[in-house]
Amino acid sequence: MIELLDPTREIRSGHMSYAPRPASLKGKRVALVENTKYNSDRILEMIGEILVEEYGVSETKLYHKRYSSVPAHEAIINDVREICDFMIAGVGDCGSCSSGSVLDGILLEKERIPSASIITHVFINTGRAMAKQWAVPDYKFLVMQHPIANLPEDELRAKARAIVPEIVDLLLKAPASQTTRAEAAE
């Protein structure tokens, strides 16, 4: 009999604690945190326009991350916390940026800002793994079909239109927390 030492890191288990949700978007300010990938600013702006025209959002403010693979930097977090009521992050359509956008949502929820992170479907595993690394394996993020970087304007707009109801739902209604079991490092 021999004993082997485990080479992995044990990850804390836990569940997401969401910011309190207001009853509506009327008169509220929404931060759009784009991840600098091509078209991510355009699709967030389109989402913002729909929220203003159809859901009574008073204004949106577009923030640019330093680059796609990093979480929103402190100046963005502070500004959003000071002057915005909601945050939408995305659209991650690569490996490091998807998980980066998921992290933006987690960080802003910690700051008590109701948030929605959007990634593309081929990176669901990556987004989920990032949430696990932050000990919030049940964190809810939104998913749209990959890719977006090479889409023409009309297809981008259709994607924006399609995801808006999910965004509104997530911003106004925190998902029920799930009881999670301890999960070993992957």
Partner: protein, 355 residues
């Protein structure tokens, strides 16, 4: 609670990792595969005895934090580094190099999350400078990227296993490389300092020649160029520059490691070119114009007035080329290695190896 001798003292050492029981060594190797701890090759079973030996050679306590990755909330302890170094097949004396490399990739300037998760698939190029490279027989000559040298193959493997097992950088999960490249198994080289006419890279970076360092760079695979016709440095570098002009991310402006091998180095030495001469030549001869970069879909279309003459240098400054003599004495080949994406997204980091 265990006790290990350190510098004549006896220090209490407690390893905190969970212990898995298996029947014997043969089963242990299969068990490590089944647990997902391997990169695809067999590993050495990480027994307590081997792990303690590794920690002793690194002169670190197991609970010492070697690195912290803020964007993942990951703390990497010496104990986990040692366990993964055992798995990788490192000799205990390699441990100081592995520790310094982990310090490097967890430095905020290296910015771990991007290069480890990206679809673009860079590996961690590890360049060892100073006396330790000779002491550990880290290959700087013929076949330096190839098989045959335990230090080259296991040090980089240990770093990758830490990334996999401790940081969660698993394929399909938090390592989404579309292709990746073979350097992701191990990508460790040394500079041929003893036969170089120039100061070694770590001295250029501000270290003393007698210090040993490890440099980590998120990098693409090596690309080889062939020129056996030129008897001049300019001729050789013409080939190099032509090949480099469209390489790596092209528009990102990253780092380039240039490895000049034996025959080419002889020519460079005979011509009396300095490193700065080489860098300047490469900088001036690897420019692209915006029109070409738009037509080939690297920058968004449409063409703008002046694009035909508007110049985009391959790198932001000539000092982004790092010139190292390395490789075999025979053969009219040299290589270059583009760094990942954009230099400001992940900096090349150099750490002193403490031993």
């Amino acid at each position: 609670m265990l006790v290990r001798p350190t510098n004549g003292c006896r220090v209490a050492v407690e390893l905190l990792s969970y212990k898995h029981r298996v029947a014997d060594v043969g089963e242990a190797i299969d068990y490590c595969f089944r647990q997902g701890w391997s990169d695809g090759l067999p590993v050495i079973p990480p027994t307590e005895e081997r792990v303690l030996e590794m920690l002793g050679a690194g002169r670190v306590d197991p609970d010492k934090e070697i690195g912290f990755i803020a964007e993942r909330e990951i703390s990497i302890t010496a104990e986990k580094v040692a366990i993964n170094a055992v798995l990788a097949g490192c000799k205990p004396e390699y441990m100081p190099v592995v520790l310094a490399a982990i310090e490097g990739i967890t430095d905020p300037a290296w910015a771990y999350h991007g290069p480890s998760t990206t679809t673009s698939g860079p590996a961690v190029l590890i360049i060892v400078n100073g006396p330790i490279a000779r002491d550990l027989d880290i290959n700087s000559g013929e076949n330096l990227f190839g098989p045959g040298w335990r230090a080259n193959l296991t040090i980089g493997r240990a770093v990758r296993l830490v990334m996999r097992n401790v940081c969660g950088s698993l394929p399909m999960v938090l390592d989404r490389a579309t292709h990746g490249h073979p350097g992701k198994l191990s990508y460790v080289i040394a500079e041929n300092e003893l036969e170089s006419p120039w100061t070694p890279m770590h001295v250029d970076l501000g270290f003393q020649a007698e210090q040993s360092t490890v440099t980590v760079l998120a990098a693409d695979g090596p690309r080889q160029i062939f020129n056996q016709l030129s008897a001049t440095t300019e001729g050789i570098l013409t080939t190099m520059a032509d090949d480099m002009r469209i390489s790596g991310g092209v528009i990102g402006q990253t780092y380039y490691i240039v490895l000049l091998a034996g025959e080419h180095m002889e020519t460079v030495v005979r011509d009396g070119w300095s490193k700065t001469d080489v860098k300047r030549y490469l900088f001036e001869n690897t420019m692209n114009n915006y029109a070409h970069l738009r037509r080939t879909q690297r920058f968004p279309m449409p063409l703008k007035p002046g694009d035909e003459t508007r110049i985009r240098p391959l790198v932001s400054h000539e000092d982004m080329f790092f010139i190292l003599p390395a490789g075999g004495k025979a053969g009219a080949f040299s290589s270059y290695i583009p760094g990942w994406a954009k230099a400001s997204w992940s900096r090349m980091v150099t750490k002193e190896i403490k031993r």
